[in-house]
Amino acid sequence: MIVVDRVSVSYGIGAGRIKAVSDVSFQIDEGDAFGLVGESGSGKSTVLRAIAGLITHAEGSVELAGQAMPRVRSRAARKMVQMVFQDPFGSLHPNQTVDQTLSMPIAIHRLGHADRRVASALAEVGLGREHRFRYPHQLSGGQRQRVAIARALILEPRILLLDEPTSALDVSVQAEILNLLARLRRDHGLTMLMVSHDLAVIAHLCDRIGVMSDGALIEITSAESLASGNVRHAYTQQLLRSNRGFDRSGAEVVEAVTSPVLSRIE
């Protein structure tokens, strides 16, 4: 469904040129969920934006549903890929009601039946009719993220790109959104690509996981291998350790977390 072949993205010119992503290649089958993990600045969000067609100067090729994506995409190609952003406080227009936010993509793509589509998209993400004419500031963080997901779904895309969809949310709300995403994927046969720095969140939703560091995809592993600690690359092991550190409670964690730094100064 998604074939990313040697994609590179650079910014700047001359000596100040920075390679944000270098030679990243991977494939995702239809209906699969693929995760990208890495620290901030590792290029994972840039890969996502390149697939969405938001970075027009990306090198390499992106193929979606068997079609090579040109530099400027057709309307149909854009409809096929939709994205959900990290911060539901920043990604919704503050002066537009939920209804306006959801109607806009329908108008742009001339789909018609706006009223029916908006109502069913809201029902799909678990929002009631009473939320339809509210402004973003009248909604909670979880409700806003549901609106953002509804906005992505309203064009009936085949691919959903998720950029840290739960990291701005409380844990109980995170569970609700993760369940919602899992259900949508099942019901609609969506292909998902999710970016997160939280290994547990990624491993919950995704079967295959790519690890990024310094703009390169250094390892592709699976949720099972991550869980059993069966990873090859030293960086992935370190990432796993930092995530594990807080996943277990008790005194051993204090030991594990404190000792590497302490031993470094001694």
Binding site: E39, S40, G141, D170, V171, S172, V173, Q174, A175, E176, L178, N179, A182, H197, L199, A200, V201, A203, H204, A223, L226, A227, S228, Q238, L239, L240, S242, N243, R244, G245, F246, D247, R248, S249, G250, A251, V253, V254, V257, T258, P260, V261, L262, I265
Partner: protein, 282 residues
């Protein structure tokens, strides 16, 4: 070390009056803190940050603080005016905030900001304050303190910025450090490092620490005791290592709703909120 508690709170309440009735941000929170590490966890809006701010005297107008007892050592915080609090802040209680990008002065070099705290509280000379600041930068494990001293906040990374803030807070040698989500804006690897540095310094100086966070596991890994807050109340107090045996349905619900590596579930249990939690007393 003395046995007398560092901080005593009894029935702390913070109320914000509003057009549609008062908002009770903190309701009857009581605890005593010795020279230990106390964690406060809860979701957004649970009143955990407001509790921290109330101790610092930083609840903005028209918010009102009431309490039966609110003492820091031998000082009655309830009787303190703004001037009294100003003398206290930095010297006796210090606060590390969430995001160094927003909490440091963008037009002052980081070294100057640290030195300023020293001059403010000890009336020291420029030269002496600079020495102290450099020492402090070294204590938070910044490799080249001389170079970092002259940098501006936009020139340092998130982890370094947070260490600068910790240095700034510890330079006046406070008795109590309140850290409000000190690592939420940082990457996991850096998080560990910053926490380890803070933990190390707090232990060595025998300070009291209140760590405020939404991350249950992080707090339970670092603190001796954890208070779980919900809707402005403390619903449960756990001792580290016994978090798994937490009794309150809210705490249990929070723990269950976290995805876990190696324990994949088709559906995460969702927290069912019971209105009674907001009402019942501890």
């Amino acid at each position: 070390m003395t046995d007398a508690p560092l901080l005593t709170l009894r029935n702390l309440r913070v109320v914000y009056p509003g057009d549609e009735g008062d908002t009770h941000a903190v309701r009857n929170v009581s605890f005593t803190l010795g020279r230990e590490r106390l964690g406060i966890v809860g979701e957004s809006g649970s009143g955990k940050s407001t509790t921290g701010r109330a101790i610092m005297g930083l609840v903005p107008q028209p918010g009102r603080i009431t309490a039966e007892v609110m003492r820091l050592g031998d000082i009655d915080l309830l009787k303190l005016n703004e001037r009294g609090f100003r003398r206290l802040r930095g010297k006796r209680i210090a606060m590390v905030l969430q995001d160094p990008k927003y909490s440091l002065d963008p037009v002052m070099s980081v070294g100057h900001q640290i030195a300023e705290t020293h001059r403010c509280h000890f009336g020291s000379s420029m030269k002496k304050a600079r020495m102290a600041a450099l020492e402090m930068l070294e204590a938070v494990r910044i490799r080249d303190p001389e170079r970092v001293y002259a940098l501006y906040p936009h020139q340092v990374s998130g982890g370094m910025g947070q260490r600068v803030m910790i240095a700034m807070m510890l330079i006046a040698d406070p008795d109590l450090l309140i850290a409000d989500e000190p690592t939420s804006a940082l990457d996991v690897g850096v998080q560990e490092q910053v926490l380890a540095i803070m933990d190390d310094l707090v232990r060595r100086r025998g300070m009291g620490l209140i760590l405020i966070s939404h991350n249950l596991h992080l707090v339970s890994a670092f603190c001796d005791r954890v208070l779980v807050m919900y809707a402005g109340r403390v619903v449960e107090t756990c001792i580290t290592g016994e978090l798994a045996e937490a009794r309150h349905p809210y705490t249990r619900g929070l723990l269950a709703s976290l995805p876990e590596l190696g324990r994949r579930r088709a559906e995460l249990p969702q927290l069912q909120r019971d209105p009674a939690w907001a009402e019942e007393a501890l």
